[in-house]
Amino acid sequence: MTGPDRAVLFEQAVLPHLNAAYNLARWLTRNPDDAADVVQEAYLRALRYFDGFAGEDGKAWLLSIVRHTCFTWLRRNRPAELAPLPEEREDGGGHGIDPDDPETLTLAARDRALLNRLIAALPPEFREVVVLRELEELSYREIAAIAAIPVGTVMSRLARARARLRSDWRRLCQAETKHGA
């Protein structure tokens, strides 16, 4: 592939997914400047390796590079955030959904700022599956390919991330109610 053709094909494959790339990087770095730097680095890396792109799914391909660049950045700049995840059963019992007062949960979920803070406080490995599933609406298989983990791990991380969000949510809501009373 020569210059102009290659540039055009590359832009067609990648440019439409810059929002998804930036959103993932922004959630993982939690900072706009760092997110822009990471996306730029990932973009230039994608440009360099574009000949290895078989043309199947530009979004998943770009996101896998962004994801890899983010975790490299985290290892270098925020190593403390990459502590090993707690063992499956150490973070509050089962990771299934909770039968406790679902109504309150749904109604109170209108508190946007709090919900965003809770997602931002998740470990990066949980945060990425939540962002890719809930905000990008990707399938477990696509998320597995992007994060380079088995589909079963996507399923369990997502369940754990959601369980943790819900229990944090409930705890904070109860704390607020007590304060208010």
Binding site: Y22, P99, A109
Partner: protein
């Protein structure tokens, strides 16, 4: 299927990610279990809340423009060579006019299609080229006494070189580059991991004109003249930070 198992798989079931066998069993259980149904509704509502309320961060336009520019290295062919003589009188006239209008001494203006436009483009192109070709520096050194002599044998007039590490702008190195078709010195600084190019050319060869601050393709560009040298700063840093660097470089 027991309550516990149904609740463990409920998230995946809501995502339509369980196999058909498990799906049948979960649905059969839910049909006869109000407690699990309510729990599933709660989980569905929570997911919906995340989708509706979690921030979706869109890529800033300046970033998109920067990246779009970076992927087009070979495009397009350069326009015909520009003649300095044609625009310099215009630039001088413009600066004289500005000096009159802006009695406060604000010597900068944004060039929109102004006479220096092609040079601004040259400067931005040079910056982008230096980033993507991984040819940011020929001589890597933060020591101004190493970088300056390196230019001596390579250019008619070596640029002034100043390390500004203590001021937050470490010198990274230098390389030869081109501006308006002529060899010029490019000094590379860094600030908060952002690379900054400083092009320096002797007056009379390239790039003289009124002082200028402008934005092109998401990059901020500043230009000024000091002594018998013409200076061009370019980076994706904020304009205020670039102005701070300019002030440091212009210190006597």
């Amino acid at each position: 299927m027991e309550h516990e198992e149904v609740r463990a798989l409920a998230g995946a079931w809501l995502d339509r990610e369980v196999d058909p066998l498990a799906q049948g069993e979960i649905e059969a259980h839910l049909a006869g279990c109000a407690a699990c149904r309510a729990a599933v509704d709660g989980a569905r509502g929570f997911s919906a809340a995340i989708r509706a309320e979690a921030e979706y961060f869109e890529a800033p336009p300046a970033l998109v423009a920067r990246l779009a520019a970076a992927s087009r290295p070979a495009l397009p062919a350069r326009p015909a060579p520009r003649r300095m003589a044609a625009w310099r009188p215009l630039a001088l006239a413009a600066s004289a006019l500005l000096a009159v209008v802006l009695a406060g001494g604000i010597g900068y203006f944004s060039s929109l299609g102004g006479p220096q436009d092609p040079l601004v483009q040259d400067v931005v192109d040079g910056h982008v080229r230096s980033l993507q070709a991984e040819h940011l520096i020929d001589i890597a050194s933060s020591d101004q006494h190493t970088v300056k002599p390196w230019f001596d044998g390579r250019l008619d007039a070596a640029p002034p070189v100043r390390d500004l590490t203590t001021e937050g702008f470490p010198l990274v190195g230098g390389r030869l580059d081109y501006l308006d078709g002529k060899s010029v010195a490019a000094l590379v600084y860094r600030h908060r991991q952002h690379p900054i190019n400083l092009f320096v050319a002797p007056l009379g060869t390239s790039g003289a004109g009124p002082a200028l601050a402008t934005t092109r393709q998401g990059y901020n560009v500043r230009h000024w003249v000091a002594g018998d040298m013409s200076f061009w700063l370019v980076s994706d840093l904020e304009m205020t930070e670039l102005a701070a660097l300019e002030a440091l470089l212009r210190r006597p």
